[in-house]
Symmetry: C2
Subunit: 421 residues, 2 copies
């Protein structure tokens, strides 16, 4: 008997999955390990920046007023009364026609309101005293970084959910975040199914292939920001499969299986969902590849039944599993980033289903261009290696031609898109 | 005394650094840990893919010849003589009007040359035997994935230097690469200098700021694909600095220092290079920020003297240090990826130096757009957090206006650019 399944549109399928988003948790880690993690709280300024008026240059702090008449042919002289390095302060106050030698980043001495850059000051000594001559006027505040100019205490500088990059690490350090609140990495369980599967270590035998999906999905889980818990290959026995999945479910935030969701005789997953008492959200999506992608929920925990076909498996993960992971990382844009690109080749073939073509997006003179990354047969693993995007070709009665604008989902991207696409 | 330094163009500075590229080394790691690493050898097919003729669908393997006259109103019957799952093989040969039930991925039985998809075959039993009826003709090879169709043994599938993504992990698994040859991560030593620097754990005191550069550069080193060896803050004493740097040099592939390269009184690095007998490749670059960036080499090992100013430090690393790291990772495009984008705002201010403005590149209707990611004063750390690009504004006598096309360097990118830019 062939089970009749009703395909639902991609957007509807994603909406159904997003009904079961899971709230992420916080953990505190050392700033040293924070690169690439996701902030679980807004990053706020813990003090004004700068927290004192400071000099952005090496030079001499003076009163702007005293430079007013300085010209090339009318140099004005200032007595250098002190010398401060970055990190030290002076207790002297700058008076009329006095200067304090100051280093980049050092605190402006009292009384001064501008800095004459080193290269614009001519130093000389007279009667055992140090002087500079200045040949142009400076305005009040010129070459001064004022307290709070960059950030005010309490200001939100980076919002929750942002992936930590080197610039954010600099901010964390500036504000004394030795420990950083980040989203705990979701734990994603993974099973492979398929009696045809050999392990990566096995020699090839007739009729069998090596399991590639588990390694691919592990990479995708890692790229999405989660940790993989690999439970190995499911046994070729319904009861053992059932027990394995039931036990695994307790140890993870969500569970991914690859294979076993088609309508073939060895496709156990539908039966397992039933016995588990899990609600199947959908078991057919109007898309190619990945139409047999099945998602179920058991007590709010999601079970992603991805296709055993590598391309279908890949696409199913990116569309349905990734946004749940990203939501647990507090991302406000958990979906694949969607952009527009110009089609680089013709696609004359018509397809009633929406196709998600493994593609390579390049930039040519500032414009996104997209072409398939390989022969687009759904069992061809090779094209996945070169794919940095999925091209979306809506189903219908016409083909697509070179130069047309199409939507693309970016795969190697941490910006994401909001819902609805 | 102010030392006179001659600024050289950015491209010339990069060329000088690239004279001292270091050849990377290989290590073998588990495929499970390979995500994000760089292949140190070309990835070749170790066998044909598929390595046997196989069915891409669930269905029935038959002889195409026998379906020739099949029509909606002329169903043709086939006797089902065997049943094979994926991973098993049949020893039966398909004869005229015989069919073998076959699962997705299973090996085609001898004699068969096409697969009737499950949903197009009507199954029934008669006299204790299984049959199917077929209502349309199939061509020879239709629904068959032929041996070697995806890849031929020995074919290069992914070139050396490529960063391993999930698709590449799938290929590695397919070809039995349980251990993967990857580039050893370069070891980049890091020192901070600056008496004004507090540690991230320290309370703020007047005139001092927390060290943010070390954390920022550590993130940049990690993003570029290398490991950081942080040696801490250099002491405020020339001889101790000299010893620390001399000793550190033996332990790393290259050494980065932040600060100490200006013309200020506490800028020890030039003296240290001299005492080390290191050759200074340049100590002034015609760019803003980062003009004081200094690079030296000692016995072929590079010493990157980056500015203590966070933005200048950031830019210096990306332009000069990153390509050396990427080269050690066997990348053929080790430089920051350069693209064109439309300027989102006016830049009326003229600058004789080339400016590298911390920017955010977005895509609008398929076109790259670029705007500064914050106020562009060189000591403002905040704008680094939002930067995914550096906008290049060539020095000269005119400003730039909204809508003009400018070059941008992409920071969150693993594609890179070849030389010359």
């Amino acid at each position: 008997m062939i089970e009749r399944r009703k395909p639902i549109p991609i957007k509807e399928a994603i909406t159904k999955v997003m009904d079961y988003i899971i709230t992420g948790e916080t953990e505190y880690i050392s700033i040293v390990e924070s690169y690439g993690r996701h902030l679980s709280e807004d990053l706020k300024a813990t003090h004004d920046v700068p927290h004192f008026d400071r000099s952005p240059y090496d030079g001499f702090a003076v009163r702007a007023l005293d430079t007013e008449l300085a010209r090339q042919n009318n140099p004005i002289e200032f007595e250098v009364i002190d010398h401060i390095g970055a990190g030290t302060v002076t207790n002297k106050k700058v008076q009329a026609f006095q200067a304090v030698r100051i280093m980049t980043g050092a605190q402006m001495p009292e009384g001064s309101d501008t800095v004459v850059m080193l290269e614009l000051a001519k130093s000389f000594d007279r009667n055992g005293k140090s002087f500079i001559a200045v040949k142009r006027p400076f305005k009040t505040g010129e070459n001064v970084s004022y307290r709070g100019e960059d950030a005010k205490k309490g200001e939100v500088l980076v919002t929750k959910g942002t992936k930590i990059n080197p610039g954010i690490q600099a901010i964390l350090a500036t504000f004394g975040y030795a420990k950083v609140p980040v989203a705990k990495k979701p734990k994603v369980g993974l099973f492979a199914t398929g009696t045809e599967l050999l392990d990566v270590n096995d020699e090839l035998v007739p009729g069998k292939i090596r399991n590639s999906n588990s390694y691919m999905i592990s990479g995708q889980i890692e790229r999405a920001g989660a940790d993989v818990i690999y439970f190995g290959q499911l046994p070729d026995d319904f009861e053992m499969c059932f027990d394995a999945i039931k036990n695994a479910l307790h140890k993870v935030d969500m569970l991914v299986t690859t294979g076993g969701v088609s309508v073939g005789d060895y496709d156990y997953l539908p039966g397992i969902y039933q016995k588990l008492g899990a609600e199947v959200l959908f078991n057919k999506v109007a898309m190619r590849p990945g139409s047999v992608t099945t998602v179920a929920q058991k007590d709010g925990k999601l079970l992603f039944g991805l296709s055993g076909n590598p391309s279908a498996c890949y696409v199913g993960f990116e569309l349905f599993t990734r946004p749940i992971i990203q939501t647990m990382l507090f991302s406000k844009k958990p979906h694949l980033r969607k952009e527009k690109a110009l089609l680089g080749i013709d696609f004359p073939k018509v397809n009633p289903f929406t196709r998600l073509v493994r593609s390579n997006v390049t930039v040519s003179d500032g414009r996104l261009m997209v072409s398939p990354s390989g022969v687009d047969k759904s069992n061809i693993v090779m094209s996945l290696a070169g794919a940095n995007a999925l091209m979306i070709l809506p189903g219908g009665t016409r083909g697509f031609s070179k130069g047309m604008e199409v939507d693309v989902f970016m795969l190697e991207d941490h910006t994401g898109s909001e819902w609805p696409w």
